[in-house]
Amino acid sequence: MAISEPVVVPQSGAADRLARTWAQPRGFWGWFQNVHHTAIGVRFMVTSFIFFLLGGVLAAMMRWQLVRPEHNAIGPDLYNQLFTVHGSTMIFLFAVPMMFQGFGVYVVPHMCGTRNIAFPRLNAFSYYIYVVGALLLWVGLFLKTGADAGWFAYVPLSGPEFTPGKRSDFWAQMITFTEVSALGVAICITTTILRYRAPGMTLNRMPILLWEKLVTSIMVIFAMPSVMVVSSMLLMDRTINTQFFNPSVGGDVLLYQHLFWFFGHPEVYIIFLPATAIVSTVVAVFARRHIFGYVPIVTSVVATGFLGFSVWVHHMFATGLPQMSASFFTAASLMIVIPTAVQFYCWMATIWHGRLQLKLPMLWIFGFFFVFLIGGLSGVMLASVPLDWQVHDTFFVVAHFHYVLIGGALFPMFGGMYFWIPKITGRMMNDRLGKIHFWLFFVGFNLTFFTMHFLGLHGMPRRVYTYTPEMRWGALNLLATIGVVFMTAGILVFIANFFQSKATGRFAGPNPWGAGSLEWATPSPPPHYNFLELPTVNGREALWEAEPNQPIVGGVREDIPEVLVTNTLDSEPEYRDELPGPSIWPFLTAIAVSIAFIWSIFSPWGIAYGAIPVVITLIGWLWPRGHSPSPRVPEPALEARWIR
């Protein structure tokens, strides 16, 4: 039986009433008042992709400096800034904002079948705070105040004595900005997934992407505070002379590493879990069947969430920790391979018993299978303590984390982009250009980073701006630099493909891939009210298992921006919640918070005086503007009634 399109002819005028209620202001100032999740989600994706390109430019400059021994194209000071800002940009300004905030904020409300994300103003505030944090790091680089102590800035090198001036302060404040942004979005996404799901979408019928975004949000909530504590400690050490990391007066340099890596490892799983979410979604669609092993995959996602917090010391094996704790963390690091292995086998079984259509998104997912596997397995090698003593902080580790980050996050990201861009822009991407982009990127990536395995085995340490000819690393470094050319070409082909398809691409229609989740029930590009008729869900793949006359939700007011709140377990409708409308105040609060934080770099009183405008703008944001005479005293709750 063909997939039934929920053909509903709207009652008279419902569409334009909803359009008027959910309209977002236009124009220059309107841009800053927009609080709809599609706008904020696209902004997160576009801004983080721009910073991906900027980070890529820095990587190309680094590869150019390392192309041959004693090559003094770039001096040590600039090179240190390059690799620090490259690392910080790729992790804090691209990977997390793109994979967690970008895809999360755009796709989750659609998949839940609701009209906007929970707390839309907090969501908009998070975007502006993220942009200010990103600009802070990059303006710092242009003003030679770019951070230069590595993306994790170990103390005492990043401390007050060995990094004079304000370089580490800019880096530490950038961390605070991006973490506040991630925490804000985590609260929005968790509330949306737990409380705004369409009726009928019980926990057992939730799409895997929602499970993974939920687990990622909980990981963000427990991991990000750790890096905020440690970056604030570093900032206080540098500005008001606290002694957290001063070894002479009781401070401890390993405290910094423990606190940072307690955040560091969950961070890479915050990047990786959204990627496996995209893989599970795309594999099911292009194998034309339900995902194999829904329960094992969800269990392994939750297991990854917990285990992610128990492995951080494998970054510190070389610091000479006692043998007993090192072997515990080896065991934990090896155990965390199992959930990912379970997901790999379930994907393989899905394809084995499905009907594979190797369209563009699926091609990237196959790229993910081949590339991430090398990264994951070299991770197994790194988990064993004695082997880590040899390869820690060498180019072998650089190769490992590029295989797991580019393989584990970038390949699924491009797959996800080719999958969802028809929904975002309403136009299909060009297939041929997509394949050229894939093969260029795949060849260039392996050329650059597979050779780095051998550089690491031959003892080339990380973060060296040059090397002496006697080390005989020149040939491999030349090969690695050549690979960068292919990758850059691939990325340029992707950008051309995007703009060309946005202008003249084939119209995509609501469901170009015949996918099963709810976001494919909205027209593409979706209007600001997402669903004309709020859907109900009948199974794990909403559209595939929808009955011909699948019930819709009625009775949600169309004159005020109201959404249906359902309870967490079996998503029974509980009450109708009114969402705050567009407002300039989140943007103003972001500016006030930015001024306070940046001022605090230069004088400790900045926090005290800067807090006053923050309080004022927060009051402006949260002050109730009654526009709907909701009843004065809430009457007892009535059951949802079925009417024919």
């Binding site: 505070p225 606290t242 009781g250 109201e562 059951e639 949802a640």
Partner: protein, 203 residues
């Protein structure tokens, strides 16, 4: 094809537009925020005990903080539970005067708590830049003072809202959630007091 296909409709117009207690989405957001702040507290306390393992004597070369102010501050925070609980109980009833009195009492106790906290900070017997012990003690108390001040401001703001005509519907639920956050501030106050005053004397 007939123009309007009749679809079974799940009518939810009868449902309420505001819920109290655990069913409220803002309550969930407040819980998540408490998890974030709770993790920060836990990490600062963990750093405190980690640094303690690193030095032979604790507090290293300082007098422990004067116990008197610690006990006073702890007592005031425990007393503050009464107005907070009162405000939370009367919130659903929508009775304006009771809510105002509850919030006023809460704000008053918060002011006293801040004043006592000022004395507490003055009598820690250590400056934050002397050594790692002093830095972590000041960090822990500073973090909590930040929460105390933001919570005080939030209570005052809701108090002001209660004087306007918009004090109905979800704003009533906000009063209850504000008291929830106050319980969090009290719990972290007791915890910080125990860590700062207790470990240097009894453990």
């Amino acid at each position: 094809m007939d123009p309007i296909r009749e679809r079974p409709v799940l009518d939810v117009s009868g449902l309420p537009t505001v819920m109290f207690g655990k069913a409220n989405t803002t309550w969930l957001a407040n819980l998540l925020y408490m998890m974030i702040e709770g993790t920060m507290f836990a990490l600062v306390v963990a750093s405190y005990f980690y640094l303690r393992t690193r030095s032979s004597s604790w507090p290293p070369g300082n007098l422990p903080p004067t116990l008197g102010w610690g006990i006073t501050s702890g007592a005031i925070f425990l007393i503050s539970l009464v107005p907070a609980r009162y405000a939370q109980r009367v919130a659903p009833s929508g009775d304006r005067s009771k809510i105002r009195w509850g919030l006023l009492a809460l704000a008053g106790v918060a002011v006293i708590a801040m004043v006592v906290r000022g004395f507490e900070l003055a009598n820690l017997n250590c400056r934050w830049n002397e050594n790692a012990y002093a830095s972590t003690v000041w960090a822990l108390l500073g973090l909590h003072t930040g929460h105390l001040i933001t919570e005080f401001i939030e209570t005052v703001v809701i108090l002001c809202v209660s004087f306007t005509d918009k004090m109905e519907g979800t704003r009533l639920a906000d009063v209850a959630i504000n008291s929830d956050y106050w319980y969090f501030v009290v719990v972290t106050a007791i915890l910080s007091d125990f860590v700062i005053y207790g470990t240097t004397r009894f453990l």
